[in-house]
């Protein structure tokens, strides 16, 4: 009954944005701290 699903470790969005030189702009718009929020649950 145990089902094992493989997970693949992908290149992160951060690395992709960095490669495209888009990361600094992105982080300016979402500073790292705030963007990591798991906010209060509206329920």
């Amino acid at each position: 009954c145990l089902v094992i699903i493989p997970l693949t470790k992908m290149k992160t969005m951060r690395e992709t944005l960095r490669e495209k030189n888009l990361l600094t702009n992105f982080l300016l718009r979402n500073n790292d701290d705030r963007s990591q929020n798991v906010a209060h649950d509206p329920k």
């Binding site: 089902v3 997970l7 992908m10 790292d32 929020n37």
Partner: protein, 324 residues
């Protein structure tokens, strides 16, 4: 309309394959313990991310049923607006029929995401009101025998990470699983006793809450404590990211999380990661002060790569043990 916890998928890395519909349509999703909804892009979406990812076409699925209930999931680095439907979801050999899921009509900020959608494994109270999350549906339909799932996240290799559904393969951890009661069945939330660095308490002085979250890559805590830790490890803001000198990493202190009578050390090699360009970046982030009034930490992949984690819905408890 349902608004949801803000999330940041900037650093998400672990994705798995599922299919939705008959005949099956394939998607890469994040198996995410920090949320409880399943959503994928759809043919109704004309946002940029939907042209760079797989999209679900309900018209070619003989088992699709429309609900139409509007959905709005907002993230720290993106947003998905869509509507609800029902269809057959296949995860490995598990067949999950009449599963509610959201089809996106618009997506913002996810064009470079290494995944198509998200499969949430949190508790039902976290899901879109009135919907049944995937794991609850699998359980309800008797598709899985044990109400448990587990994660093994590899550190270096691209492959080798797995999520287990319906049981636990104990060969993926060392020693005994240490069970910790869930303090509030919503997120996978537990009570943490203390956090110490070099024997000094750093936050969590009177106990605090910790959320085990495979959908967050970083270690996230109250901003003021994270600022103090960054100062302690000498992290500097470079191009809007906190970096340390790579030659210094080995001498940085270990962060110890004390949970339910056991210590879970997090060495600097775990909370400092090297970017593809060779910079050594901190994976500590602040911002949890607005999750709840009590102090809360998010133990993301940084922590979950070191510790094999089991999520036991049957007994509302989490099991942790050092990963192999």
């Amino acid at each position: 309309l349902s608004l949801h916890p803000l999330r940041n998928y900037l650093d998400l890395a672990y994705v798995g394959n599922i299919s939705i519909g008959t005949p099956p349509q394939q998607f890469k999703v994040v198996f995410d313990t920090g949320s409880a909804d399943l959503w994928v892009p759809s043919t109704y979406c004309d946002s940029v991310p939907c042209y760079t990812h797989n999209v679900f076409n309900p018209h070619v699925s003989t088992t699709f049923r429309l609900s139409g209930f509007p959905v709005d999931l907002t993230y720290g680095s993106g947003r998905m607006v869509g509507f609800l439907g029902y269809d057959t979801v296949r995860i490995g050999k598990l067949v999950d029929v009449v599963q509610p899921f959201a089809l996106s009509k618009a997506q913002f900020g996810l064009e470079h995401a290494p995944f198509d959608g998200i499969l949430g494994l949190g508790y039902r109270s976290l899901a879109i009101q009135g919907t049944t999350p995937v794991f609850d549906n699998l359980k309800k339909r008797g598709v899985i025998s044990q109400s448990v799932f587990a994660f093994y996240l590899s550190t270096q290799k691209e492959n080798g990470s797995i999520v287990m559904l319906g049981g636990v393969d104990n060969s993926y951890h060392k020693g005994k699983l240490q069970w910790i009661p869930v303090s509030r069945p919503h997120y996978w939330q537990i009570t943490m006793n203390r956090i110490t660095i070099n024997g000094v308490a750093f936050g969590c002085c009177r106990g605090c809450q910790a959320i085990l979250d495979t959908g967050t890559s970083f270690l996230v805590g109250p901003s003021r404590v994270i600022t103090a830790v960054r100062r302690l490890i000498g992290a500097r803001l470079v191009d809007n990211e906190y970096a340390v000198s790579c030659s210094y990493v080995a001498r940085l202190p270990t962060i110890i999380f004390s949970i339910n009578g056991n210590d879970y050390p997090l060495p600097p090699q775990a909370y400092i990661r090297k970017s593809l360009r060779g910079k050594c970046l901190s994976t500590l982030a602040g911002g949890t002060e607005n999750i709840s009034r009590s102090e809360t930490w998010i133990l993301g992949d940084v922590f979950l790569r070191l510790y094999f984690s089991v999520y036991d819905r049957g007994n509302n408890r989490v099991g942790l043990a050092p990963a192999v």
